[in-house]
């Protein structure tokens, strides 16, 4: 079974600085998808960034970028120029391609609570 581990329960960063959130996962699959989701205190979960395992190039979305190390099964998120609005829970997630039933499952880590300080 696939598992996702986020080893940092809480982190803090000063506004405008850079922070990196760690994530490791365990799978025997070769083709899969990885995501980072953000859940602000208002609680609606939103997508931050998506990575396809067969693509070696690391995904980037504005101030957010990932370091995807497939062999190490590592998928860290770097937030540059941190802003107060980045304060949230961040979840790393793994999606296996569809099963023969046509369904798929996204598995989430336990999350990292990030505080951005002014």
């Amino acid at each position: 079974a696939q598992t996702v581990t986020q080893s940092q329960p809480e982190m803090s960063v000063q506004e405008a600085e850079t922070v990196t959130l760690s994530c490791t996962y365990d799978t025997s699959e070769s083709n899969y998808y990885l995501f980072w989701y953000k859940q602000p205190p208002s609680r609606q979960m939103i997508l931050v960034i998506r990575q396809e395992a067969y693509k070696q190039q690391n995904a980037t979305e504005n101030r957010f970028s990932v370091n995807f190390q497939k062999a190490a099964k590592s998928f860290s998120l770097k937030i540059s120029d941190s802003q107060l609005g980045d304060t949230a829970m961040y979840f790393c997630a793994f999606m296996k391609p569809p099963y023969n039933t046509g369904g798929f499952k996204t598995i989430f880590g336990a999350g990292t609570r990030l505080f951005v300080k002014a």
Binding site: V4, Y33, F35, Y37, S42, R43, Q44, M45, I46, L47, R50, E52, F91, M95, P97, P98, Y99, T101, G102, G103, F104, K105, T106, I107, F108, G109, A110, G111
Partner: protein, 113 residues
Amino acid sequence: DAGVTQSPTHLIKTRGQQVTLRCSPKSGHDTVSWYQQALGQGPQFIFQYYEEEERQRGNFPDRFSGHQFPNYSSELNVNALLLGDSALYLCASSWGPKGSPLHFGNGTRLTVT
């Protein structure tokens, strides 16, 4: 463009009762997944519906059941509520089977007393 909507937002039930939670997916989405999120933890996958059928299920007892309607909306039913069922229930919709990210609703906060 309406996003994922869930109702109700909050619900208080008594142990042993039954509850139904509702979800309307984002426009254009055909797949609905349900998650249970305990306080301070990551979402746990309950099940997924596509074409009105349950396609995948997580490690949840049969007390948890669901349904998807022809308009892609979905319901989550929980029977014989336990205190441990108290959680935030999240509905997420997506389109297509291949790596489409999830779009979440605001969730339903269920409290079982």
